[in-house]
Symmetry: C2
Subunit: 229 residues, 2 copies
C-alpha cells in the first residue's frame, strides 16, 4: 500500500459531486457512500422529481447533504460529475450538457456491455470506450474513467462497512485523476489507483463482463485489487 511518490490528497470533501443516473443502482450506491463520508451530493436524473425522491431517501439514510435536480441543474451546481447512466442513454445524456460541464471533472463509469444466452460480452464502441465517447462529446471537460467494477449490491448494503476494492482511475489530466482517486479513498475499504490514460479505458469497461462471469461461477460480488501498489 505504499506509493513511490506521496502526493498531497486534494481536499475533496469541499467539492460538490453530481451523479447523473443517481436514481439507478450504481449511481445511487456511490452517492450513498459519498454522502455518508460527508460529501455534498446532487442526484441528477432526466426527471427532477425522481431525483428529488432518491435524494430525500439518501439524505435520511446518511444524514448528509443530498439534493436532487434534473441533469442540467445537477451539472451546473457540481464540481465533479459522475456519469452513471445506462450505455444506451450515454451519448444523448452528455451531448446537450457540453457547456454546463465545461471546465468540470467528469467521471465516466459506464460499461458498454451486451448480454445473450452465453452471458455478458463487451460491445464495440466507435470511439474506443464510453469514456472516450464522453471526451469527444465534452471537449471542454476534464474527462476521467473510474468506478466501473464496484458492485452496486455491496455499495447499497448498509451492513457492508468496507467496500473491498481498488478503483482504477484513468485519464490524461493528472489533477483530475488525483481528485477522483481521492473521492474513491473517501469510501472505507476502497482505494483509488491510477490506471492509465483514457485511451486504455475500453478494456477496463469491458472487464466488467469478466467480473459478471466470475460472479456467476463463484456466486460472488467480485472486485479487483492491484498487487504491489
Amino acid at each position: 500500500m505504499t506509493e513511490a511518490v506521496q502526493q498531497p490528497e486534494p481536499d475533496v470533501r469541499s467539492l460538490t459531486v453530481g451523479v447523473f443516473g443517481g436514481t439507478g443502482a450504481q449511481g445511487k450506491g456511490l452517492a450513498y457512500r459519498w454522502a455518508k463520508a460527508g460529501v455534498k451530493v446532487v442526484i441528477g436524473s432526466r426527471d427532477a422529481a425522481r431525483a428529488e425522491a432518491a435524494a430525500a431517501e439518501l439524505a435520511q439514510l446518511t444524514g448528509g447533504d443530498v439534493t436532487g435536480a434534473d441533469n442540467a441543474s445537477c451539472a451546473a451546481s457540481s464540481d465533479v460529475v459522475l456519469v452513471a447512466v445506462p450505455w444506451d442513454a450515454h451519448a444523448k445524456t452528455l451531448e446537450p450538457l457540453r457547456d454546463a460541464l465545461a471546465g468540470k471533472i467528469v467521471v465516466d463509469c459506464v460499461n458498454p456491455l451486451g448480454f445473450d444466452k452465453k452471458g455478458p460480452y463487451a460491445l464495440p464502441v466507435e470511439e474506443g470506450s464510453a469514456a472516450q465517447q464522453a471526451e469527444a462529446l465534452l471537449p471542454e471537460s476534464r474527462v476521467t474513467a473510474a468506478f466501473h467494477h464496484v458492485s452496486a449490491v455491496l455499495l447499497a448494503d448498509p451492513e457492508v462497512a468496507e467496500v473491498d476494492i481498488d478503483v482504477l482511475v484513468l485519464g490524461d489530466d493528472r489533477g483530475a485523476t488525483d481528485t477522483v482517486r481521492a473521492l474513491a479513498d473517501l469510501v472505507p475499504g476502497m482505494r483509488g489507483v491510477f490506471g492509465g490514460r483514457l485511451r486504455n479505458a475500453g478494456q477496463v469497461e469491458a472487464f466488467t463482463a469478466n467480473l459478471i462471469a466470475i460472479n456467476k461461477r463463484y456466486k460472488a460480488h467480485a472486485g479487483v485489487r492491484i498487487t504491489d501498489v
Copy 2:
C-alpha cells in the same frame, strides 16, 4: 478464498507442459516455476538449439525435468502447450501446428500491445483477441487464455518465493480451464480463477497495457487479485 462449488483438482503434475516462446522472458519464467513445482516441461522455440540451451539452464536451476525442442516436436510431446511468443509471431507460429496441437490444451498468454511516446495501448485484433485468433487457427485444440498479467521479472527472480497474483483463466471448455487453473495453483502464491468465456479474452489481454502504466506510475510489478472469490 472459498468457492461455491469445490471441484477436484485435475492431477496436473502428471502432465507434460510445452512452452512456445520458452526462451523469452514470460515463457521462461513460467517454465521455471512449473519445473520447480515438479512438472515436466518442454521448452519450444523456432530454433531447437536455443530451446535446448534454455532447458539446460532451467534444469540446472530447478533440478526438474526440462528439455528443449523445436515448436513442432514440443507440441508433439506435450499435453498442454503455453503460447508465449511475441504477438507479431503469433499467427505464423500456430498456423503450421494445427495437426500437432489437435486435441491438446492450448494456453494463450499473448498480449497484443503497441507502444508509442504516450506509453502502451491495446492493438486491435481482427478475431477479437489473440486467444480467439488461436481458436480460429486451431479448431481441433482446446484453447484457453491465461497468465497474461504475470510479471516476467517476478517469475524469474529466485528470491520471490510467492508470486502474489490471481491468474484469470478464460475458455469455453470447463475441463480445459480447470486444468489450467490447477497449473496456476501449482505456483506458490498464484491462484487460478475462472475469468469468463474466450470471447471475453480481449479485455484481459489489453488490460496488460494498464498494468504497464500502473508499473510506471507506482514503480511496481503490479498484478491483479479478485476479491470475494
